[in-house]
Structures are given as structure tokens and as C-alpha cells.
Amino acid sequence: FEHHRYDLKMKSLFFIESVFLAGVVLLSQVTAKNSEDIRCKCICPPYKDVEGQIYKQNVSLKDCNCLHVVDPMPVDGKDVEAYCLRCECKYEERSSGTIKFTIIMYLSILGLLLLYMVYLTLLEPMLKRRLFGHSQLIQNYDDVGDQQPFANAHNVLSRSHSRPSMLNKVEHAQQRWRRQVQEQRKSVFDRHVVLS
């Protein structure tokens, strides 16, 4: 049984890995080079009667200097060198695909977490009350002797229905996880024994 569990864990980790890999592949497709993502930016301060100016061009790294980027040249031939000496050229590269991917990914994870949190704290107790009425609730509290109402919701749910074994497993795992989180919450937030 125990080895089976380990195997399961291995499997699931490989599953996660493959998801990760798929993500990487997806990412690499999204991040295919965009011509907007390269720039050579030259900032030229005021010189004699020429105003300060910013030049941006899409050139390669080795062409990223004042002579290639500043166009049209605002000064005459003999002053070009002096003018260019004061310009500061920077070659920059980014990947707008990665940025977009990261931000959207981040927002969706955040959204999922928030939804799950709302579900755990608000919806589930309500659902439970609807399903089982008042009396069973009280009985359940006495049964477990726990003052955290929502922690036992799944307990009730899973006990009252016989479900396919996989769902049961999932539920069991979820329940155990919640018990752990509750334990952690107690030690961090209430008793202040760790991480204070």
C-alpha cells in the first residue's frame, strides 16, 4: 500500500513535470521574437543650439551606436564626433510575450486561489446547511468537537454520499490538507509558537 502511494506520488510529480514542460513549450512559442522587442535607445543631451533628443531604432547590438542610430544627424560633419561622444546609447532587449504570459498566468493563479478561498469560507458552509439542515450540523459539531465550522464540511459531505473511489481519495486528501492548514494556522496565528 505504501509503495503504491509512493508510486502515485511519483506519477503525479511526473504529471506536474509534464505540465511544466508543456508550459515551457507554450512559453517559447509565445515568446517568439517580436521585432518590437529590440531597441537601441540613444539619449543625446543639448549641444550648442541643438535641442536634446532621444532616438530609438531597431538595430542589432553591434550597430547600436550613435552613428547608426541618430538619423538625421542634427549637426554638421565636423561636430558629429563631439555630438556623438555625449550621446548615451543603450541596447535593450525584452520579450513582451514572456511578460504577457507571466502576468496573465499570475493573475489566473491569484484568481483561482481567491475563488477557492471564497468557496471554502462562504459557499461551502451555506451549501452544507442547505443540504443537511440544522440538526445534523449540531450533531456533527458534537461529533468532532471542533469549533471550526467549515473544516468539517467535507467530512459530512463525504460521509453522507458514497462516491466513486477516486473522488473519495481526492476528498480524503483535501480533508487531510485542510486539517494540516488548520493545525498550522493554530500554531502560527493563535498560539504564536512558530514564525512570530
Binding site: E2, H3, H4, L8, E92, T102, Y106, M117, Q174
Partner: protein
């Protein structure tokens, strides 16, 4: 049975709970039912994987054939190695009992046992590898798995760090405005291609502040007030989300994590601290916390994130999954990875792990850390989160030389850093103690919201506190070039501009009105940062402390630097300036002062020296500033040590009472190793019922086995957890095991009545080579043994007879007592 109690009654001096064992306080799990005895892999971290695993039941089960029986092999070979015990004593029908050789939550591992376990395993594999090709391949893959794991850790941590950087940057800018071109761009990337003029180079049309978006104009009081309000609202929202998510999903995700990781690396077990939910929650909430504008950084939490990655990936490899000591080697490397991606400093990361975090750091780990840190830095570099091909926002590059005379202000900065460090630690610990013990601790969410509100309210009007910590540091580190438009570079422009130097090497100039404004704003920012950081660090959101302390130092350094510059400009004929600071020369670089100040303050708070200097010089990419940095770091450490020897992490470890045996300290009291007594098991005269009663009525984490009550000569040592699991397992699976069965630890079962139930043989779970000292061993030697070998318990004998036991926790309590501290403050009780 009664015999035991009288023996216990006679226990000498004080009977301490052994081994740092802690009962779970939950009712219903300690009543000896199957719940309480559940095998450890159950509460092994958390269960996301199990959920996923259920769906993958159908996939092949034979991809790890030789390893899946590792537990049994290990188990048998251990019995054989240690005691030359014939393995036929083991019941051949008996399956390997899951969970043997594992530890309870909040317990300390035994390094010696784990290491010998690994050596045995290794020996077994080498022996087998000569037999068949498959076994040879297995041995090769086993040897390679460490490096593979490092590669994976580096990739994962680097990718996560890149994501965190991008998201935090974007969310920080979100407080001020939005990009019309695509909401996912931050301010910098929003204006990436847009046309801007030289005068307005800090703004562009597609990036609009909230006030601008609503009122239509960027000028005016209404727009300012709207911006101000929305800034506060966003900050509060982010902080609220962060603290509620932490509370709901992973309370262990709060704080910086370095003190706990330090404790874990020293052998402590906190289940779930490095689990999947902690990783997810910490990653998500770290971004929120950083962007809420609170005075905190992401560097410490990144170390925690990297360690979570390593711990999760360890599950892929049997070698690391089953051995706590080996896993800690990987975690040490992961700590290096964390700093490597936080500062873009791979070597600094490795040294940080070695100097600050790790407990056991062999050379092999050094190489692996180096490799992993390199991979992580490379991954981060290829993600390129800042668009400047650098790994950190505040990377600087200046090469202006410094003069020997400047060492004096650098040392002054070191003194400031040391004073600030000592003060900060005192204040922060006092504040955390208040939080821990008074009513304040009961309202963590309100506390976070209040601090955020104050921070946002005060920070917004001052542009140096409004920007994020990393940006502030980057601005302070930067040397002023002619093109800089920031206030800090508000010098009076020299009249003959065309003849002065070019690019970065500008001569010293007199300060202009812009710089004066910047100076008093910086002074206010310094004061504010100093105060707010004290209350921020330790709140229930992910919070690192590197960035705030560096910011404090950088502000102080920059102020001093500008002061020095002006002094030199107006008095360049003074003796100290004569000769190297002529009027046309660029002799003083305020950015360098900011850097030295940052190093000094960070050094004062964390007491790092070598790793700090290396991190800083990797940040600057120049070797010429090593001497100033060293001078500042050393001074800061000396000054801070004069006020208290502990760094902030050790102070937090002590505040929480983690069982951490500081390897850097010396134990200087003289006492003897004769103190404690506890319950005993006998070799072959106890029944299962008696053993169970003993286990139930005591809370010791291990029991010595002796020959008999009359002659307590030592046979071996049995861990409570192993005992409980084995008996429970035997009762379930083995026929004929009842309360009256004898428990036999000896090699040969004693002759017994034929009608009695068969004995339960448990020699396999007994450690036949426990460490012993005599009762006259001086305490300092004992402490050294514990510290250097990472022991968990040590038995005390007198004339070869068992006298008692000393555990790591006893040592810690004893040391606390010697230092006049409350010994009961150690570990939760």
C-alpha cells in the same frame, strides 16, 4: 510494569522530555488509534500530489523497480551491518514496515543515523552494480541523480524568480497607473517604443496615472488627490489579499523564512514548511506584499521559495526522498540558489549558504550549490525580467577610482551600519515579543492593514519612499551622468558645458536646488524607513529584510557621499584633498558611498561578512571596491557584535525557541554529563502489552534497551516512532501477536513455553550502535559531540551500566540555563 514506575520515580535530578518530542495536541489523534500511528508519508508535506496522483493511477508502475524495495533492503542491511545480526531473525514474511526510520513533526533528525543509512545504501548499490547491467545503470543513475536534481532546482527556482520579478514590477506600477497599450506592461515597458522628447523623457502618452485617466489631465490638485487615494487603496488591497491568502492556505508562508530554514538545515523537522502549498502561496503573496509598498524585500522569501522547490523535487529521487540528511544537503544548495537569483550573484549565494544558513556543508555540496546557483542565474538571465540583461534592478557599473583617504568615511558608514543593525535587532525583537505575547498578536490582519495604511499614507508624498525599495537602491547607487533627470543629480550645470568631460566621468559640481530638495527628502525617507521596517519585519506576510536594510544604508551612504563631494568641491585646497581632488577632477562618487552604506547596514543586521562583500562585488562587477566594502562590512560586524552577538536570524530563532545548536558559538561552562534518567526497555522480558503501556504513558522519543532490569547493561536504542509503528503493524498483519507476546530484541529468542504466543522480534528496528559517553565526560565535550556530529541523543553510562540519556533538547536547555535564560523557552513548551 510497576518496576518501571519505581525506576522512574527514582529518576535523578530532572526528567526531561527526550529528543524534542512533542505530542500533537489534537484530541483524537493521540489516543493510540490508527490515526495517530499513521505512517509518516501521509503527513509528508502536503497532499496536492496525492490529489493529482489519484488521477494517474493507470500509468505504468514499473519505472522504478529497483528502488521501490529500497526500504526493505536498507532495513535489512542495516541490521546486518550494525550488529552482525543474522537476518533470519527477521520474519521473512514480514513486509517492510512503512514509516520506519522517519521522524515526527517538530522533531530533530539524527544525522549520524541518516548518514550511515545512506552509506549502507550506497554500498549496497555498488555491490550490486557488479552483477548485472541493469544494476550498473541503476548505480550510474543514482550517482547522477544529485546533479540532475540540482539542474532541476536551478531551472525551477530561476523560472519562479523571473516570474516573481516581472509580476512584482508590474503590480508595483499598477498602484500608480495603467498602460493603455496592454495592461500587462509595466511603466517602463509601456513606453518601450513610444516617441518621447528629451524634456519629457520620464513620461509617455500610453502610460496614464489613475488621476489622469479619470480627470483627463495630469496636472492639478484633483488628479494628485485621486492618485494618492488610489495608491492607498491598491496598497491596502494587495496587503489584505496577501495576508488572507497566507492565513487561508499556508500560514507557514509568512515571514522571511531564513530562520526556519536555518533550523531545518540543522536537523529540525517542520512538516509542510517546504511543501507545495507553501510554495504556491508564498510565490503569489510575495508579489502582493512587495507591490503593496510595504518596507520589505523579496530576497529572503526567495530563499524559502528555492528551498520549497528543492524539497518538492527531492520527491522524484528515492535517494533524497528517504534520507533526511541527504535532503538537507540539497536544501543547503537551494539556499544558495535563492540568493543567487535574488541578487544575481551565484558565488555570493554559495558563500551565503555556507556562512549564514547551512549547518552541514561538505565539499560535495559546495560544488553542487555552485552548479545549481549557476543554472538558476542562467535561467533568470534568459528570462531577462528587467529588460536590461541584468539579474537585478540595482546593478551598477562604475569604475571611478577611490582614494585611501576615503576609507575614513567608509569606516564611518560601517559604524553607522553596525549601530543600526544592533538597534534594529533589539527593536524588532522587542516588537515581535510584544506581538507574540500581548493582544496585538490576535489581530494579524488588522495589524498588516494598519501598517500598510500608515506606510502608504506617509510614503506617497515623498518620491523616495513612494518608489519600491529596489528602485530606490538603484537610484541611489547610480552615479550622476549628464543625462540623469532625477533630482539627486540636480547639480548646478557648469557654464562651459561643452568642454567638460564626457559621459559618466563628470567633474564634481556644486549642489543645485534640486539636490538640496532631494537631500532633505532623503533624510526624511531614512527616518521613515528606519522606523517602519522595525514594525514591518515579522508581520504575517512574506517579508524579507535585505532590501529595507540596504535601502537604509544606501540613503545614509548617499547623504554622506554628497556631503563629502560638496566638502571636497568647496575645500579642495585642504590638506586631505590636496593632490588627488583637483577642481576639475571627479574625485568622489556618491554612488559608491551608497553602496558601501548598503553593505554596512546589511552586514550589521545579518552579520554576514564574506558573502556580503562577494554579493556586493558581484552586483557592481568591479573588483576595485572590495577593500571599501570589506572595511565597512568588518567595522559594521565589530560594532554590532559589541552590542549583542546575535544576528537577526539567530535572534528570531531564539525568540521562537527553535532547537538550534549554534555551531559558531563556544560553550564555556563546565558541568558534567550526568543528569537525566528515563524509562527503559529490556531485551527479552517484556510483553507487547507492557511495551505499549510504557509508550503510552511516557512521551520520550526513544528508549534504550538493556539486558535486564537488574543489570542495566546497554544493548541498543529504539526510537519511539519505530517501536509504535512496528508493534502496530505486527498486530495488524502478524498472526498471534497479542498483548501477552514477548517483545524480543536479542539475537536469539529465549526458550519459552510452547503454549504461549509467538514472540515479536524487533531487533531490526533497534540501533545497535548508539553513541555513549560516560558520566564523567565534561559538558563542553558533550556539546561538541552533539554539534559536530549532529546527534539527536546520546546515552550516558557508568561502569558500563546505563545511567541515563542526554538529548539535543537537554543540551539546549542546559545551555539556556547556563546563559541565565529561561530553559523552558526552548521549543514550544
Amino acid at each position: 510494569m510497576s518496576d518501571f514506575w519505581t525506576r522512574r520515580g527514582r529518576a535523578r535530578v530532572r526528567t526531561l522530555r527526550a529528543g524534542g518530542f512533542r505530542m500533537r495536541e489534537k484530541p483524537g489523534c493521540c489516543d493510540g488509534g490508527p490515526e495517530g500511528l499513521h505512517p509518516p508519508s501521509d503527513d509528508d508535506d502536503d497532499d496536492l500530489v496525492d490529489i493529482a496522483g489519484a488521477t494517474l493511477d493507470f500509468s505504468s508502475t514499473d519505472d522504478v523497480p529497483p528502488l521501490s524495495s529500497g526500504g526493505y533492503e536498507e532495513h535489512r542491511s542495516r541490521a546486518g551491518m550494525n550488529g552482525n545480526g543474522p537476518s533470519n531473525l527477521m520474519d521473512p514474511l514480514e513486509d517492510p514496515v512503512p514509516g520506519l526510520g522517519t521522524y515526527e513533526d517538530f522533531n530533530t533528525i539524527d544525522w549520524v543515523r541518516e548518514k550511515s543509512k545512506d552509506r549502507d545504501r550506497h554500498r549496497e548499490i555498488t555491490k550490486n552494480s557488479r552483477r548485472s547491467t541493469a544494476a550498473l545503470l541503476h548505480s550510474v543513475s543514482d550517482a547522477f541523480s544529485g546533479w540532475l536534481l540540482m539542474l532541476l532546482v536551478g531551472l525551477m527556482a530561476g523560472a519562479l524568480a523571473g516570474g516573481i520579478d516581472i509580476a512584482a514590477h508590474w503590480l508595483t506600477d499598477m498602484k500608480e497607473g495603467v498602460c493603455l497599450r496592454g495592461f500587462w506592461f509595466n511603466r517602463e515597458h509601456c513606453c518601450w517604443t513610444s516617441e518621447t522628447t528629451f524634456q519629457d523623457r520620464d513620461r509617455c502618452a500610453v502610460w496614464q496615472t489613475w488621476g489622469e485617466l479619470i480627470t483627463g489631465t495630469s496636472e492639478g490638485a484633483l488628479s494628485y488627490i485621486l492618485n494618492y487615494l488610489l495608491y492607498i487603496v491598491w496598497a491596502l488591497l494587495f496587503a489584505f489579499l496577501a495576508v488572507t491568502l497566507v492565513r487561508a492556505f499556508a500560514p507557514y508562508a509568512c515571514g522571511s523564512g531564513i530562520p526556519e530554514i536555518k533550523t531545518i538545515l540543522s536537523g529540525f523537522i517542520i512538516r509542510g514548511y517546504l511543501g507545495k502549498w507553501t510554495l504556491i502561496t508564498k510565490t503569489v503573496t510575495l508579489v502582493l506584499a512587495v507591490s503593496s509598498g510595504l518596507s520589505l524585500g523579496k530576497e529572503g522569501p526567495l530563499v524559502h521559495v528555492a528551498c520549497c522547490c528543492a524539497n518538492i523535487l527531492c520527491h522524484l529521487f528515492t535517494k533524497y526522498r528517504k534520507n533526511e540528511a541527504k535532503r538537507r544537503e540539497v536544501l543547503s544548495a537551494a539556499a544558495a540558489v535563492g540568493v543567487s537569483v535574488a541578487f544575481g550573484a551565484p558565488i555570493g549565494g554559495v558563500l551565503f549558504s555556507l556562512e549564514e544558513v547551512s549547518y552541514y556543508f561538505p565539499l560535495k555540496t559546495l560544488w553542487r550549490s555552485f552548479f545549481a546557483a549557476l543554472v538558476a542565474a542562467f535561467t533568470l538571465r534568459s528570462i531577462n525580467p528587467f529588460g536590461n540583461s541584468r539579474l537585478v534592478l540595482f546593478y551598477v557599473e562604475f569604475h571611478t577610482p577611490w582614494h585611501l583617504v576615503e576609507l575614513l568615511p567608509f569606516v564611518l558608514l560601517g559604524i553607522f551600519g553596525g549601530l543600526w543593525g544592533a538597534l534594529f535587532i533589539r527593536a524588532n525583537i522587542a516588537w515581535c515579543r510584544i506581538r507574540k505575547t500581548t493582544r496585538l498578536g490576535r489581530y494579524p490582519i488588522v495589524e498588516v492593514l494598519a501598517v500598510t495604511a500608515v506606510t502608504a499614507l506617509v510614503a506617497y508624498p515623498n518620491s523616495y519612499t513612494r518608489m519600491s525599495g529596489a528602485e530606490l537602491i538603484s537610484e541611489l547607487f547610480n552615479d550622476c551622468s549628464l543625462l540623469d533627470s532625477s533630482q539627486l543629480c540636480g547639480y548646478q550645470q557648469p557654464a562651459n558645458i561643452s568642454e567638460t568631460g564626457v559621459g559618466n566621468s563628470l567633474a564634481d559640481r556644486p549642489a543645485g536646488p534640486g539636490l538640496y530638495t532631494a537631500l532633505w527628502q532623503l533624510a526624511l525617507a531614512l527616518l521613515f524607513k528606519m522606523l517602519i521596517t522595525v514594525v514591518t519585519f515579522g508581520m504575517k506576510v512574506p517579508s524579507g529584510l535585505f532590501i529595507p536594510s540596504m535601502a537604509v544604508g544606501a540613503i545614509a551612504g548617499r547623504l554622506l557621499g554628497v556631503g563629502m563631494e560638496q566638502l571636497a568641491y568647496y575645500n579642495h585646497d585642504w590638506l586631505i584633498f590636496r593632490g588627488w581632488c583637483t577642481p576639475e577632477a571627479d574625485c568622489i562618487t556618491p554612488g559608491l558611498y551608497a553602496m558601501v552604506g548598503a553593505a554596512a547596514c546589511l552586514g550589521g543586521v545579518t552579520r554576514m561578512t564574506v558573502s556580503l562583500v562577494v554579493i556586493m562585488f558581484e552586483l557592481t562587477g568591479g573588483l576595485e571596491y572590495i577593500v571599501p566594502l570589506m572595511a565597512a562590512a568588518m567595522t559594521s560586524k565589530w560594532v554590532a557584535d559589541a552590542f549583542g552577538r546575535e544576528g537577526i536570524y539567530e535572534a528570531h530563532i531564539r525568540l521562537n525557541g527553535y532547537p538550534f545548536l549554534e555551531p559558531k558559538e563556544e560553550f564555556e561552562h563546565s558541568s558534567l554529563a550526568v543528569d537525566v534518567m528515563l524509562a527503559l526497555l529490556t531485551q527479552e522480558s517484556m510483553t507487547v502489552g507492557e511495551v505499549e503501556a510504557l509508550v503510552e504513558n511516557t512521551r520520550y522519543s526513544g528508549f534504550p534497551v538493556v539486558v535486564s532490569q537488574e543489570s542495566p547493561r546497554l544493548v541498543g536504542f529504539v526510537l519511539r516512532r519505530d517501536l509504535v509503528i512496528s508493534i502496530d503493524n505486527a498486530r495488524k498483519r502478524q498472526d498471534g501477536v497479542v498483548s501477552a507476546s514477548l517483545v524480543v530484541f536479542s539475537e536469539h529468542a529465549p526458550p519459552q513455553a510452547s503454549d504461549g504466543p509467538p514472540p515479536l522480534r524487533l531487533r531490526g528496528i533497534m540501533d545497535l550502535s548508539p553513541f555513549t559517553v560516560t558520566d564523567h565526560t565534561p559538558m563542553d565535550i558533550t556539546v561538541d559531540i552533539f554539534r559536530k556530529l549532529g546527534l539527536r541523543q546520546c546515552l550516558v553510562t557508568h561502569n558500563g551500566r546505563l545511567l541515563g540519556i542526554i538529548t539535543k533538547k537537554d543540551i539546549l536547555k542546559h545551555m539556556a540555563q547556563m546563559a541565565n535564560r529561561d530553559p523552558d523557552s526552548i521549543l514550544f513548551n
